[in-house]
């Protein structure tokens, strides 16, 4: 029908690029993990935040393979960002990800639903291996299939495997070698073009010098959203389409129908399943798990478990990491000679690294649980149950996981939104999750709440402080939902939102998939978000440890003089020096500089310093307060609160932490984006600085207004 380009035989290529395709739920990632194991890297496809997994393997004939795992999709007609990626690459031979070979994974227990995309990729002229996955399930369900007949029918090699236990993978690799060594002839097109399509394809092939007619047809169909076309090419293609008098959508429908009509009868001879089976295990489980009453109860119990796990189980490893880094810092302090280098190492770098690694237990635990739920097939059910509710505020059923996890820590929560395929819903989830009060806010709330609600106060049978705590949490949730609703109105999206979700059969999770996913999330966070966190913590350290000209030295001398005069102990002297130094530092100057701006909120420059330093992490607020009030060596929440209670305004002589100021500060901490680590993760997950900056301004702006309002009312 057409001539394939003359190219180098694949066996001579240094690296052969093989792409893995398949529908969602075909077991593609299991095949990928079986083939590559730990030799895989995860990144983003260019320009978007869609996971790109690349693995490496060497075949027995010596060929080096770069295996790319493409997002699961049903066809080459995209309705989401993940699916668009597949189309972008397959319609552009110049793309660095364009494969030499394709491996198509299909679920053999449901083969008739898995072949549409297969026949599309086959028509692109990419040599393709059809892998029938879940052979073990087929055996259990007494499904009979004939790989030879399938191979003959589609004119491609076919191999049946069970990716779960690695069954028949040697054969799969042999077939790959075969494909590499004798590049097969391009088979005839599976799809039969209409006359108009033929002419359209020919015009585009000639104009854009494209060898494959189906590729040309796909370009015609999708020209508006293919990034590699320039405006002239786009308008040219539009003219062609208008000239031929065809309608894009109708062409699509015709193509899809014809493909099904062609391969469905072909399958009748090659695959047979026993008919008339009763309700399956999946049916029985879903009768309970998606039940009107039991469904939500089960879901919220699971979410409670997730919350409990990140909130409490991660405590032990986190304490260990904390103590380990503190110990390391002390050891370095004791070993190295005094000086700026030692301080940079201990207070800047080691503290910064500790601040990164401290999140790993939470990330690991959350992704262990989420991957398990995802692998088993449960997440699709959660989406089904809560789609309606979440849609109203522009979110997705999967966003609930992010919001619940956000109560422990926003970082793993933001990372968990990657499974939401609609970009707008995902972006909104990322933007609002940090409003949910995370565990780092608790120490701040604990210190401040006593100034707002007395410990002994009760409200009915409830402890008033407990209620106030709950109120702060609710405030965060309300802020998240309202902002989500506002963002839903503001953000425009080309993507039409669909639910249309396949509910996979329940399966035992593949442990290897779960562990690889956890490993990959931890690695990504540590490397990509970690370097931003480290950088910012060094900057914050510089701000707190250095001051303009010789002010730091003067502050120290002054403090020592006062200490001698007042006969202070060594510990008290150190605390006083620290307090004087932080006042003289750049952070202190910055605190004083912003004082006019935060005065209307009831804050003085000392609180200003704490606001700046707690950008490293909210709980740093307590430590900074301790340093400023020269009780740095004590630093527990109780003594910090006691000391704050005694703090008086130098001019009026009234207490600083009045009801109004404390409430205003609480409100500020509920809303403000005071966490560089979250911003670093948002940058990584949205692939731009735009969204974390907007998030920072929006949240901090809201915090400012909220605090202003509260202080002006209650002062």
């Amino acid at each position: 029908m057409y001539n394939a380009e003359v190219v180098l035989p694949l066996s001579k290529k240094q690296t052969v690029t093989i792409a893995l395709f398949g529908n969602p739920n075909c077991g593609k990632s299991t095949v990928f993990n079986q083939l590559t194991g730990l030799r895989q890297q995860v990144g983003n496809f260019p320009g978007v935040t869609v996971d790109k997994k690349v693995g490496h393997l060497k075949l027995d004939n010596g060929s080096k393979v770069r295996l790319i795992d493409f997002p699961g999709t049903y066809s080459l007609y995209p309705t989401s960002q993940d699916e668009q990626v597949v189309l972008n690459i397959l319609t552009n031979k110049e793309n660095t990800h364009y494969p030499d070979l394709a491996v198509y994974v299909a679920n053999v227990t449901n083969l008739e639903k898995h072949l549409l995309l297969f026949t599309q990729i086959r028509d692109l002229g990419i040599p393709i291996l059809l892998v029938l996955n879940m052979a073990d399930m087929a055996k259990k369900e007494n499904i009979w299939y004939d790989t030879k007949a399938l191979s003959k029918a589609f004119d491609v090699p076919v191999v049946a495997v069970s990716a779960r236990d690695g069954d028949n993978f040697p054969q799969l690799k042999k077939e790959l070698i075969q494909l590499i060594e004798d590049t097969p002839n391009t088979p005839d097109l599976f799809y039969q073009f209409s006359k108009a399509e033929q002419e359209l394809a020919q015009d585009i092939q000639a104009k854009l010098s494209i060898a494959n007619p189906y590729q040309a047809l796909l370009i015609a169909q999708n020209s508006g959203r293919l990034p590699f076309l320039n405006p002239e090419e786009r308008s040219l293609i539009n003219d062609f389409i208008v000239g031929k008098g065809v309608n894009r959508l109708s062409l699509q429908v015709r193509e899809v129908m014809q493909r099904y009509d062609r391969f469905t009868p072909m399958l009748k001879k090659a695959i047979k399943r026993p008919d008339g089976v009763g309700p399956t295990l999946t049916d029985k489980i879903d009768a309970v798990v998606t039940h009107r009453v039991w469904g939500p109860i089960i879901f919220f119990s699971l979410m409670l478990l997730v919350f409990q796990a990140i909130y409490s189980w991660s405590g032990y490893p986190m304490d260990l990491i904390d103590a380990g880094f503190a110990g390391l810092g002390d050891w370095v302090k004791g070993t190295l000679p005094e000086g700026w280098f030692r301080d940079l190492l201990t207070d800047g770098i080691i503290a910064g690294l500790g601040g990164i690694l401290i999140f790993i237990p939470q990330i690991a635990i959350l992704f262990l649980l989420i991957s398990l739920l995802e692998e088993v097939g449960y997440m699709a059910r959660a989406v089904f149950m809560f789609d309606n509710l979440m849609q109203k505020v522009g979110l997705n059923g999967r966003s609930i996981v992010a919001l619940v996890s956000g109560a422990a820590c926003a970082i793993p929560a933001v990372m968990s939104t990657r499974t939401i395929s609609n970009w707008k819903e995902r972006l909104i989830s990322i933007m609002v999750t940090p409003f949910i009060s995370c565990s780092a806010r608790i120490p701040v709330y604990t210190v401040l709440i006593g100034f707002v609600v007395p410990v002994t106060a009760t409200w009915g049978i409830f402890n008033a402080q407990g209620l106030a705590f709950m109120g702060l949490y609710l405030l965060g949730i309300v802020a998240a939902l309202i902002s989500a609703y506002i963002l839903k109105q503001l953000l425009h999206s080309e993507e039409r939102s669909f639910l249309m979700l396949e509910m996979p059969e329940y399966r035992m999770p593949v442990l290897k998939n779960v562990l690889l996913n956890v490993w990959e999330k931890v690695k990504t966070f540590t490397i990509e978000a970690g370097r931003i966190i480290l950088l910012v913590s060094i900057v914050l350290w510089v701000l707190a440890s250095y001051g303009p000209s010789n002010q730091m030295e003067l502050a120290e001398t002054r403090a020592v003089a006062i200490a001698q005069q007042k006969n202070l102990t060594e510990l008290q002297t150190e605390d006083l020096i620290a307090a004087n130094k932080i006042e003289a530092s750049y952070a202190g100057h910055l605190g004083k500089f912003i004082e006019p701006a935060i005065r209307p909120l009831g804050f003085d420059w000392k609180i200003g310093i704490a606001l700046i330093t707690s950008f490293a992490a909210r709980e740093v607020f307590v430590g900074t307060m301790a340093t400023i009030y020269s009780i740095g060596s004590v630093e527990d929440e109780g003594s910090v609160r006691d000391r704050m209670a005694r703090e008086k305004d130098p001019i009026t002589g009234k207490p600083i932490y009045t009801f109004a100021t404390s409430l205003s500060l609480l409100i500020f901490y509920v809303f403000a984006m005071m966490c560089m680590s979250t911003l670093a993760v948002v940058k990584r997950e949205t692939n731009s600085w735009k969204w974390p900056i907007i998030q920072f301004l929006f949240m901090t702006g809201l915090a400012y207004l909220g605090s202003l309002l509260v202080y002006q009312i209650f002062k």
Binding site: L249, V253, M257, T280, T290, F386
Partner: protein, 73 residues
């Protein structure tokens, strides 16, 4: 009389004739929900808005809005 999928009662079956919305229809077709397929409504979502379908050996969740564009025979 032409009626749509969302008119089916729980547990009822129907055969798809065509789709009234081409874009949604095309997406459904790519997932294997085709004219001629027999579908059964298994249940509704706890908070409404979506339905749980069973078709051949597969199960799907779709929104009521999407069900409205599935015309039955």
């Amino acid at each position: 009389m032409a009626y749509t999928l969302n008119h089916l009662q729980l547990g009822e079956r129907g055969t798809i004739a065509t789709f009234s919305d081409e874009q949604a229809g095309c997406k459904l077709m790519t997932m294997g929900i085709l004219p001629g397929s027999e579908v059964k409504i298994v249940r509704k979502s706890p908070l409404g808005g979506a339905i749980y379908l069973k078709m051949d050996h597969q199960q799907f969740a779709i929104r009521n809005k999407e069900a409205e564009c599935i015309m039955l025979k």
